[in-house]
């Protein structure tokens, strides 16, 4: 009779972007040869049985004869993906007595996908899993190579990179290399992301000289995290402006770097960011569907909203995006999070993005140009802009009207490219952010951007004097502001004052904020007081 036919090992499952500690128990039972897994596993996990059997055989170990039973617990979490191949193989080997953990060794966790010949492949969410395991008190983790050099995010946990099942067995059985060699191996596999410095940064802004109105708009949007809609004729620089936003935004903070990394790790997309502190910039094609924008599927995948977390979500040709897809944006714009429920999955993704959208004002696009060459009928303009629903249009704090830059201005701009411009804008934005942070702290609020000031706090945040208050209420009456429009003018004015470095909002801030209330009637109107 054999000594032990039972083994237990740790691994980590992903739900959304969060990792959870999972224990795999394995037991060899007498009976006809079979291999069963249980514990809320999906098809991909059950497929791992054949890979594990092949990998064990091809690594010159023997797959046990008889009945093999594996159980994943807790069974409440849904489990998906191929990351459980490696721990399952190790559990099989230990239960069949081919390897064993040294006596008194601390628990070790592992994850990774096995190929049929016994090599270990990478899986999504390595960093997410490591952080979860570290939190659960695991000291050693075996896993596949990772492109990211994440050692600075780990404090007590040692990550042993392995490329094959045999290497994993070595570490599992207690042949632990020195810390230096672990580190060297991490560096060996990581792509040196930090080395590529930002040589080509601030290139976009130089191309935009002359488009002062647009630069002002993106500066205000970035400074107060206000959703921005750029409206103008084709070729007036809407897309370049949106790309320039990524350049003028201050880099990510340490906390945000981790948040963005966790999302990137799970999403399996290769990051185009030049360094870790660069903010994400997502630019989905306008044929995007609602679930691609928001996230969806079983298990729920990340949507563009989440991928743009802490960065910019740029929707070009907003009027061409299908209305159903656009309207799902309303919720994440308010909550800054997305809660998805799909069969047994309940996940919550962060989605604090800066929405920048661009569209033409009418079908021919010339509506707002001063030469009045637009011949679209009012009806067709109305139909064109109807694709953006009223509630969504209302949520754009800034609607910036862009006009084409005239040729002489363009020529002049080619001569004087100014690298310091973007830096100075970025500095101004950073100072505006500092002011907002400080003010919110004084008020004891958790939020920080002006776009999030709740209505009941708004007046206190504005710190306007009497004349200013009278001015804005008269304006609101004359221009027939809606409730929401009135508040977004105030919020934008607050940001403009912050950019100026002033504590109290003045008339001129309100006046400039007014420029960005481009209402639908004022795009249409050619006839007015006829009645």
């Amino acid at each position: 009779m054999k000594k032990s036919q039972y083994s237990k090992t740790c691994t980590c499952a992903l739900v959304g972007i969060d990792g959870f500690l999972i224990e795999i128990e394995l037991c060899l039972l007498p009976g006809l040869p079979s291999f069963e897994v249980g514990g809320n596993c999906d098809r991909a996990v059950r497929e791992s049985r054949d890979r594990v059997r092949a990998a064990i055989n091809n690594s010159f170990y023997a797959f046990p004869k008889g009945r093999v039973l594996a159980s994943y617990c807790p069974a409440t979490f849904p489990k998906s993906g191929s990351a459980f191949d490696l721990p399952l193989a190790l559990a099989v080997l230990e239960a069949s007595g081919q390897i064993c953990r040294p006596l008194g060794a601390s628990p070790i966790a592992s994850f990774g996908e096995l190929s049929l010949d016994g090599r270990v492949h990478t899986v999504p969410g390595i960093l997410n899993r490591l952080l979860a395991l570290e939190k659960a008190g695991i000291k050693d983790v075996i896993g596949p190579p990772c492109e990211l050099d994440f050692h600075k995010f780990l404090t007590s946990c040692r990550y042993h990179i392995v490329t094959s099942l045999s290497e994993a067995v070595e570490i599992y059985s207690g042949i632990v290399p020195s810390d230096d060699s672990i580190r060297n191996r991490q560096i060996e596999f990581s792509k040196n992301t930090e080395q590529e410095s930002s040589d080509s940064s601030f290139s976009m802004l130089n191309r935009l000289t002359g488009q002062e109105a647009g630069i002002r708009a993106i500066t205000i949007a970035a400074a107060g995290w206000h959703p921005l809609l750029l409206m103008g004729a084709p070729g007036c620089g809407k897309t370049s402006l949106a790309s320039a936003v990524a350049e003028i935004l201050p880099p990510l903070t340490e906390e945000e770097i981790l948040e963005v990394l966790l999302i990137e790790q799970v999403s399996k997309i290769t990051s185009k960011r030049r360094n870790l502190a660069e903010r994400p910039f997502r630019r989905p094609h306008h044929s995007i569907t609602a679930s691609a924008l928001l996230g969806g599927g079983v298990p729920p995948k990340l949507g563009e909203c989440t991928l743009a977390h802490c960065g910019v979500l740029f929707l070009d040709e907003l009027t061409e995006v299908r209305p159903q897809a656009l309207d799902v944006l309303r919720e994440p714009m308010e909550l800054k999070r997305i809660h998805l429920a799909r069969s047994s999955w309940r996940v919550s993704y962060p989605a604090d993005f800066l929405l920048i959208a661009a569209c033409n004002p009418c079908r021919c696009g010339e509506r707002l140009e001063p030469d009045a060459s637009c011949r679209c009928s009012e009806y067709s303009v109305e139909r064109h802009l109807d694709r953006i629903s009223g509630p969504l249009y209302d949520r754009f704090d800034l609607v910036a009207q862009l006009n084409r830059v005239k040729a002489p201005t363009l020529e002049a701009s080619l001569d004087q490219s100014d690298d310091t411009r973007a830096v100075s804008i970025q500095t101004a934005i950073r100072f505006a952010w500092e002011r907002q942070k400080k003010r919110c702290k004084d008020f004891g609020e958790k939020f920080f951007f002006n776009s999030l000031i709740p209505i009941n706090q708004l007046m206190a945040f504005m710190q306007m004097n009497e004349t200013c208050l009278k001015f804005i209420s008269e304006l609101a009456e004359e221009m027939r502001f809606s409730f929401r429009a009135f508040h977004s003018v105030l919020r934008v004015a607050r940001t403009i004052a912050d950019l100026r470095g002033a504590e109290a909002v003045a008339e001129e801030d309100l006046a400039l904020a007014l420029e960005y209330r481009l209402t639908l009637p004022s795009i249409l109107s050619e006839r007015n007081n006829t009645a």
Binding site: E212, P370, F471, E526
Partner: protein, 387 residues
């Protein structure tokens, strides 16, 4: 003598039969007038056997043509009587020898022998001063304001405003005249039963109920045909003492009206606009060709309105905003002057006025609050008509 249709359908049937028959026999306008003058009423004409070759007769009608005419006149009359269901309502008719026929029309060679009208206020066309206001069908904001102010002043001075009832300036002229309690006359290029444009149907009703008149020289069921409109334009020119073109771009149809007015010896006035916008090109062309430049209703000389609104300090009615008629600062004047040349966006305007954007935004906000400036097609537009 005009007879209301409800009282006497016969007169209207006769009038229609007369037009149908004389069209069929290709009788010239002057002969038609002469026929009516001699017969004095249409029923006489129906009974009479042949024209009297009197000494004062200028008629050039051959006898066989006349007999032909009379036969078709009777036939048409009979036919119309049998189809009494197609009778137009509220329509009146006036003959060129009637007392209330617009006397100004008698000056011209192509005076119609009779006119159909909706409403019974024929006398307004014989009042002491009648002005035609015409212009572009797609006016700019500036053109709309000019029309509004001019017509308001004319209404105050109790001057009758004649226009074509088309969309654009015509509609504005009628509408503002009605709004100010003035009397106005619309001259249609289609029959009265088929008013064109259809969207103005309610406006025509308003005109009639406010003491105005809608007239047409065409049979009530005539559809709006392209060739009818220049013919209609000659009536607009002839009905008035002066013709004002408030805004018209290149190749505008109003040039035809102005040509007729000049031919008939009417005064032609044109309101200038910006040379940059190109929306007033026809007005400028008229001025170059000798039309008088109109800056205010005063320029029409005969009018002495009680209260002039044109040129005015603000486009606002009755001062809705705070201090709508307040004094403007120097910067505000500068901005308004720039905007009067052409509407502009913020950046453009900042370059034009040489003001920093922040300052300009403040000036614009004040101007918007007080109703001097508004945003149309996204561009800042002056609501003030003139300086």
């Amino acid at each position: 003598m005009s007879v209301s249709c409800t009282e006497n359908n016969n007169e209207l049937l006769l009038a229609q039969a007369f037009v149908l028959a004389s069209n069929k026999c290709k009788i010239s306008l002057s002969d038609r007038r002469e026929l009516l003058r001699q017969a004095s009423t249409l029923s006489n004409l129906l009974l009479k056997l042949k024209p009297e070759p009197g000494e004062d007769s200028e008629i050039s009608l051959r006898e066989d043509v006349f007999i032909n005419f009379q036969i078709s006149f009777r036939e048409a009359y009979k036919k119309l009587r049998s189809e009494s269901e197609s009778l137009p309502r509220d329509v009146t008719v006036t003959l060129c020898n009637d007392d209330n026929f617009p006397r100004r029309l008698l000056d011209i060679d192509s005076c119609p022998p009779l006119l159909f009208g909706q409403g019974d206020n024929w006398d307004i066309l014989n009042s002491s001063y009648v002005v035609s206001v015409v212009g572009s069908r797609t006016p700019s904001h500036y053109g709309m304001e000019v029309t509004r102010c001019l017509v308001a002043d004319l209404a105050l001075a109790d001057v009758v405003v004649v226009s074509g009832g088309a969309v654009g300036i015509d509609t504005l002229a009628h509408r503002h005249s009605v709004a100010k309690g003035g009397r106005t006359c619309a001259v249609l290029g289609s029959g009265l039963n088929r008013p064109y444009p259809h969207s103005n149907k309610s406006l025509f009703k308003e005109i009639c109920s406010s003491g105005g008149l809608v007239i047409s020289e065409f049979l009530p069921d005539t559809p709006p045909k392209k060739q009818n409109f220049p013919q209609r334009n000659r009536l607009i020119a002839a009905l008035s003492d002066a013709l004002v073109v408030t805004e018209a771009g290149e190749k505008s149809g109003t040039l035809i009206t102005a040509d007729f007015a000049a031919d008939y010896g009417r005064d032609v006035f044109a309101v200038p606009g910006s040379i940059f916008s190109g929306r007033s090109r026809a007005c400028h062309q008229l001025i170059q060709e000798g039309a008088s430049l109109l800056q205010s209703a005063d320029d029409l000389e005969i009018i002495r309105p009680r209260q002039m609104e044109f040129p005015l300090s603000t486009g606002k009615e009755g001062g809705v905003g705070v201090g709508a008629r307040r004094n403007l600062s120097e910067e505000e004047l500068l901005v308004l002057q720039c905007l009067c040349i052409a509407p502009a966006g913020l950046s453009d305007l900042s370059r034009r006025c040489e003001l920093p954007v922040e300052r300009l935004a403040l000036v614009l906000a004040h101007l918007q609050r007080d109703g001097f400036v508004e945003r149309a097609r996204g561009l800042y537009t002056s609501r003030v008509s003139a300086f």
